[in-house]
């Protein structure tokens, strides 16, 4: 299998490898049916270009997007817990943006119908910064923000 995998790697990158593996029956085809990673959205440094890369939405501030289990002060910027819940009907995705990180977008969660619009994860923060929760619902974007103070930056080096 290892040799095949190398051939697969040589013959194409990212998704085509997944497709090859799926075709060979090594991984579940349903799991392999993933969209491409949005590389443009993960290389942006300001809100405008990030929003543009994510679908060119104009988010409105919303009290229906809330942080939970998220600290006001993070002692260790390498591991900052983030929880976001959306009460916006028809929520399709939730994104976490950290304004002062080298790249603004940290994570994007796409939620099919039947999945509750609420996620938790842990992110790195370089320094004290506003963190944005961006929700897409019915083609519209909603946003809320929260400042998290970082005592020790999370980028190492």
């Amino acid at each position: 299998m290892d040799r095949h995998r190398r051939q697969a790697l040589k013959s194409g990158g990212g998704l085509s490898l997944v497709a090859l593996l799926a075709a060979a029956g090594w991984i579940d085809p349903a799991a392999a049916a993933t969209e491409a990673w949005n590389s443009a959205a993960f290389q942006t440094h300001d809100m405008d270009t990030t929003l543009k890369a994510l679908g060119d939405g104009k988010p409105v501030p919303s009290t229906n997007v809330v942080f939970f289990s998220t600290p006001d002060i993070a002692e260790n910027g390498a591991v900052v817990p983030i929880g976001i819940t959306s009460k916006v009907p028809g929520t399709e995705s939730i994104a976490i943006l950290v304004a002062k990180n080298p790249n603004m977008l940290a994570a994007l969660f796409e939620l099919p119908p039947g999945t509750e619009p609420s996620i938790t994860t842990r992110v790195k923060m370089r320094e004290t910064s506003d963190v944005y929760a961006l929700v897409k619902a019915g083609g519209n974007y909603y946003m809320t923000s929260k400042e998290i103070k970082v005592t020790l930056g999370g980028c190492g080096g």
């Binding site: 790697l9 349903a30 993933t34 950290v98 999945t115 080096g157």
Partner: protein
């Protein structure tokens, strides 16, 4: 071969709560090692979660997700004995799939 994920899938009311802890360095490509050399970016880019064979979550991640990523969420439905399968793919095209039974 990357280390397995730790997955918990439990019924909570009429939903299934999924918690997963992955084993991955999640290097940003910005940090340096002890000899001053840049450690290249190495991070999980996509995560797919299936309930039996239906997709219940698809995530795209950048380098800002913490080392050994943790994630939790809930989907409606699910029954004891159902299967939750999680697959991640990183920027080296390394991939790992693990599953858990809903308890």
């Amino acid at each position: 071969m990357p280390d397995p994920m730790k997955i918990r899938a439990n019924l909570v009311g009429d939903s299934t709560e999924v918690k997963v802890l992955m084993s991955h360095e999640m290097d940003t490509g910005l940090a340096k090692d002890s000899s001053g050399k840049i450690i290249p970016a190495w991070f999980i880019q996509t995560v797919t979660v299936l309930h039996n064979d239906k997709r219940v979550l698809y995530a795209q991640w950048g380098t800002a997700v913490s080392k050994n990523p943790f994630m939790s969420f809930r989907f409606k439905g699910g029954a004891k004995g159902d299967k939750v399968t999680i697959t991640w793919v990183d920027n080296h095209n390394e991939t790992r799939t693990d599953s858990a039974i809903v308890g």
